[in-house]
């Protein structure tokens, strides 16, 4: 993982530069497109966004693809194939400020489950003609390959947070995206803790906030979609779930979800694998 999002900063808008709208590029690697579609989901704010920035490259939204460089690039997806290794370097070269969006781009995504398996075996099992498939052994986050200026977490990302990142970039402030536990969001909205009151396993205490504590509000434990927060004490939390009756295979599954390849979760799930 790269530096935590809060330690990076958005460059101030350069008052010397001629007034022109910042150019936005939206790129994807191995992913489901759900995160970049959050931009279109903005509906009410979309016109304002299009008014404030020049959407120069966004295959999901416009047919013309304008060449770089881009002031702000939103990068979705993980690096999963040999071509992507090249492409991501080019995206970096063309981008002044590069923001990765979503669990795939920031942690390798659910497809990173193959990092614990034999990918050749997967290919044989899944594809009739595996020789047509060119893939890497692993699915890895963008930051494993190029410098990333800011990471926006989530599976999918929150459209409100995406708007905040774009706004913060346009105005020149640090995005208000807090690296703190989901628990703070639960408590601020008055949701009763499902760990304490229901005995459910919930990754909220070790997971990066941003979803607004969605799952606990619907009586489910947090799946960790936003990945580990800083100082994620996963070992202590796993110990608590073990006391509550969770077996080792369950603990592996719990930490090995959408962001399972993020370092803190990866190490924790590996600690519960059979020796």
């Amino acid at each position: 993982m790269t530096a935590s999002p809060t330690s990076s900063s958005v460059p101030a808008s350069d008052s010397e530069a001629p007034v022109r709208k910042p150019r936005l590029g939206v790129f994807k690697f191995a992913s489901c497109d759900g995160c970049q579609l959050s931009l279109l989901d903005l509906e009410d704010e979309l016109l304002a966004v299009a008014g404030a920035i020049d959407i120069a490259y966004f295959p999901e939204a416009r047919t013309a693809m304008l060449p770089g460089p881009y002031d702000l690039s939103l990068v979705e997806g993980s690096i999963s194939s040999p071509e992507q290794l090249e492409q991501v370097q080019e995206v970096r070269r063309q981008s002044r400020f590069l923001v990765t969006i979503g669990a795939c781009a920031t942690a390798g995504g659910i497809q990173a489950l193959r990092n614990w398996a034999d990918s050749a075996e997967y290919l044989r099992a899944v594809y009739a003609r595996p020789e047509y498939i060119r893939t890497l052994e692993t699915s890895t986050p963008i930051a494993a390959h190029v410098r990333v200026d800011f990471e926006l977490r989530g599976c999918p990302i929150s459209k409100e947070q995406l708007l905040e990142v774009i706004t913060a970039f346009a105005v020149g402030r640090r995005p208000n995206v807090k690296d703190e536990s989901v628990c703070l969001e639960c408590k601020r909205r008055g949701t009763v803790c499902v760990v304490v009151a229901r005995g459910m396993p919930c990754l909220g205490p070790v997971t990066h906030a941003g979803c607004g504590a969605l799952c606990p509000a619907y009586d489910r434990g947090c799946y960790g979609c936003f990945g580990p927060r800083e100082r994620a004490n996963t070992g202590s939390l796993a110990g608590r779930f073990r006391e509550g009756g969770a077996g080792e295979p369950e603990l592996v599954r719990l930490f090995r979800g959408f962001t399972g390849y993020a370092e803190a979760f990866r190490k924790e799930s590996e600690a519960h694998e059979p020796q």
């Binding site: 008052s15 304002a48 105005v171 703190e180 628990c183 008055g190 304490v196 229901r198 909220g204």
Partner: protein, 674 residues
């Protein structure tokens, strides 16, 4: 601003004890609603008893009981259908007084870039709190002190608090995690309520604790309680207190905890602690907050929103360049020492009311009473509590620590101020001259909060006064400072202040005055130097010692050169590295302190590591710590003592500091993690 009026009127009211049944309680709720109160009370939701709007007695948790253990809470059926047969749940009354999210200010950028700031609209709702337990009455009193005890009053809290009507309930059964009896906060509600109920076998005794309560009781027209009912209230609450299994010995906690800052127990608890912040969220007294800057895409309309924060987040201790409390151990120790130790000198009481919420709602069941007991069982070898500021911190400095009576409302609204000049000091540092709002005056060492709507707000020390404008020397290191440093004459920024304590100039009268600056630390010292050298009869011997990274980083070069020849000033500059044409010293500032005068008064400001070495050298020379002053930096959101982010042990850097006499911070100064 007096919000604590209810307590006074209380004692003489005990005579009026009435008795009502469940219908009477229904009538009471109806009267409150008729008087315009939103009635909020305990109700079952999501497997817990929470506080939420109740419309009728039917919404109360009849027949439910909460079984609690560390990290565990379950609702179970009671053998009876008591309405208040539970204790406290995950929500405390602070959610309705110090609300989780509050918009503070709104700002707009008009034609031509003119700024406009205003206080966000605020409608204090009138709420009646039904079922406030004695521990929570104490917690409300604690937050009254935090937010209205001065020198500043938080206007939103004060308004909600004044509008609230409090119906307490006496506890006759203790919860497994309750320890109010040891903290002296319960279970008998004795003050701070308008009405207090005791539920005995389906009926309620009601006593009034305020004029508003008495008036309501009159309207209710209830019958006088029988003498034995009144007696059963005392007996029942006493029995409850005696049955309380959980205990915490509050004796000498400040000395115990602050004297054992290196106890191995902190490492043990840190291995379990998730730093998830749940304890601080459920704690009815925890008051820390952070501020979010919001704006539209163009930045033309912006706002600042206060949200609940926590000392368990990294952000709480963060300034540019890193966090003062990076480790979980630092954060847990900060929380516990604040709650049980630093709180005492800050606010005159413990920050713990013994409600047990932090124990129940800790996902891993960390028990505050066990943590304290463990440290008490094996205190460090010789707890050195000498010099700990355990009594309410005396203020040797002319700090704005006014008594509550003369408190001022601080609504945190900046005022627009225009830049009159921008002087580049070094490649990354600019001095802005800003025409302040009318009536502005400051003392050397104080700071202002400077802001740009949509971008953010930062504390910046005052580096001078040019006759018409206040000077701020700003290094462009983050988004806010970068944009502030790029301002041009005629442009506006937001300003509020000044805040904080100042250099006690007159302490140095007739003594050698040593001004020791590292890097940007010279900025808040410059107005001091100007005053010292401008009064040669009072300060015959001033020595300025300044350290910088390189000669190009030295601030105020022109002015410093202009001081050459002043008969009461000697200037010594040193740099970490320099080219061959540099004629000053090379090396750290401490080498220029070898001849530190024992009669001198020292004013020190710079990076914390530089101040540590400098102060060490000064003290080694035999200078008493009372003659040394330092200026501290911490995260600051409000500058008025509300947000809690700038705490340094028992001190708030914003209102007790930033300038401290060294002996008041000595015991933390050599430590990290605070």
């Amino acid at each position: 601003m007096e919000v604590e009026v209810k307590a006074e009127a209380k004692e003489d009211a005990r005579s009026t004890v009435r008795a009502i049944d469940r219908d009477g309680l229904e009538r009471l709720l109806g009267l409150l609603r008729e008087e315009g109160y939103r009635t909020i009370g305990p109700t079952v939701r999501d497997g817990a008893i929470v506080y939420d709007e109740i419309e009728s007695v039917r919404d109360l948790p009849a027949g439910w009981k909460d079984e609690q253990a560390p990290g565990r809470y379950r609702l179970v059926r009671r053998p009876d259908d008591a309405l208040f047969g539970h204790v406290v749940g995950p929500i405390s009354w602070k959610a309705f007084l110090f609300r989780p999210r509050e918009t503070l200010t709104a700002a707009a950028r008009g034609e031509g870039g003119a700024l406009e700031f205003r206080r966000a609209p605020f409608e204090p709702e009138r709420a009646a709190f039904i079922g406030v337990r004695s521990c929570d009455l104490a917690a409300i009193a604690v937050q009254d002190t935090v937010f209205t005890g001065g020198p500043y009053v938080e206007p939103r809290y004060a308004a909600l608090r004044r509008a609230a009507f409090i119906v307490a309930v006496n506890c006759l059964e203790s919860g497994a995690l309750c320890f109010c009896a040891s903290m002296g906060t319960g279970p008998r509600a004795r003050r701070g309520f308008d009405l207090a109920l005791t539920e005995i076998e389906g009926r309620f005794t009601v006593e009034a604790g305020s004029d508003a309560g008495r008036r309501l009781l009159e309207r209710l027209g209830a019958e006088e309680a029988r003498a034995e009912d009144a007696a059963r209230v005392e007996e029942g609450t006493a029995r409850c207190a005696a049955s309380m299994a959980k205990r915490m010995d509050p004796a000498g906690l400040p000395e115990l905890l602050l004297g054992n800052l290196d106890h191995p127990r902190w490492d043990e608890v840190a291995a379990r602690c998730l730093a998830c912040a749940n304890c601080t969220m459920v704690c009815p007294t925890c008051f820390c907050s952070t501020v979010e800057e919001t704006s539209d895409l163009t930045g033309s309309s912006a706002g600042r929103v206060r949200v609940w924060g926590s000392c368990f987040t990294e952000e709480h201790g963060k300034v540019h360049g890193g966090s003062y409390r990076p480790e979980i151990k630092d954060r847990y120790r900060q929380w516990l020492t604040h709650k049980l130790a630093s709180w005492v000198p800050q606010f005159g009481t413990s920050g713990c009311v013994g409600c047990g919420r932090c124990i129940a709602w800790c996902p891993v069941g960390i028990d505050i009473t066990e943590e304290v007991a463990a440290i008490r069982a094996s205190p460090g070898p010789v707890p050195d509590v000498q010099g700990l500021p355990l009594a309410p911190v005396p203020s040797p400095l002319p700090a704005p620590r006014a008594p509550a009576a003369s408190s001022v409302e601080e609504d945190l609204v900046p005022r627009p101020a225009a830049v009159t000049a921008a002087v580049r000091e070094t490649p990354d540092t600019v001095t802005l001259h800003v025409r302040p709002p009318q009536g502005f005056s400051f003392r050397p060492g104080q700071f202002n909060m400077l802001s740009l709507p949509g971008v953010g707000e930062v504390p910046i020390s005052i580096s001078g006064w040019d006759g018409t404008a206040v000077e701020h020397t700003i290094r462009a290191v983050g988004p806010v400072t970068r944009q502030l440093a790029a301002l041009r004459p005629g442009q506006e920024l937001g300003m509020r202040g000044p805040y904080g304590s100042s250099w006690p100039v007159d302490e140095a009268k007739g003594c050698p005055a040593w001004v020791v600056a590292g890097g940007l630390g010279l900025a808040p010292l410059r107005p001091l130097v100007r005053e010292l050298i401008g009064r040669p009869e009072d300060f015959p011997e001033v020595r300025l010692i300044g350290g910088s990274r390189t000669p190009g980083d030295i601030l105020f070069v022109r002015e410093i050169l202009g001081w050459i020849g002043r008969r009461n000033l000697q200037t010594h500059l040193t740099v970490d590295r320099a080219g061959p044409d540099w004629r000053g010293s090379i090396g750290v500032v401490t080498q220029l302190l070898d001849d530190a005068s024992i009669e001198g008064v020292y004013f020190v400001c710079g990076p914390e590591i530089m101040m540590r070495f400098a102060v060490r050298r000064i003290l080694e020379a035999g200078v008493p710590p009372q003659r040394v002053y330092v200026s501290m930096e911490r995260n600051m959101k409000c500058a008025a003592g509300f947000c809690g982010c700038c705490q340094y042990g028992p001190l708030f850097v914003c209102k007790d500091g930033p300038v401290f006499r060294y002996d008041s911070v000595a015991y933390l100064f050599e430590r990290s993690g605070f």
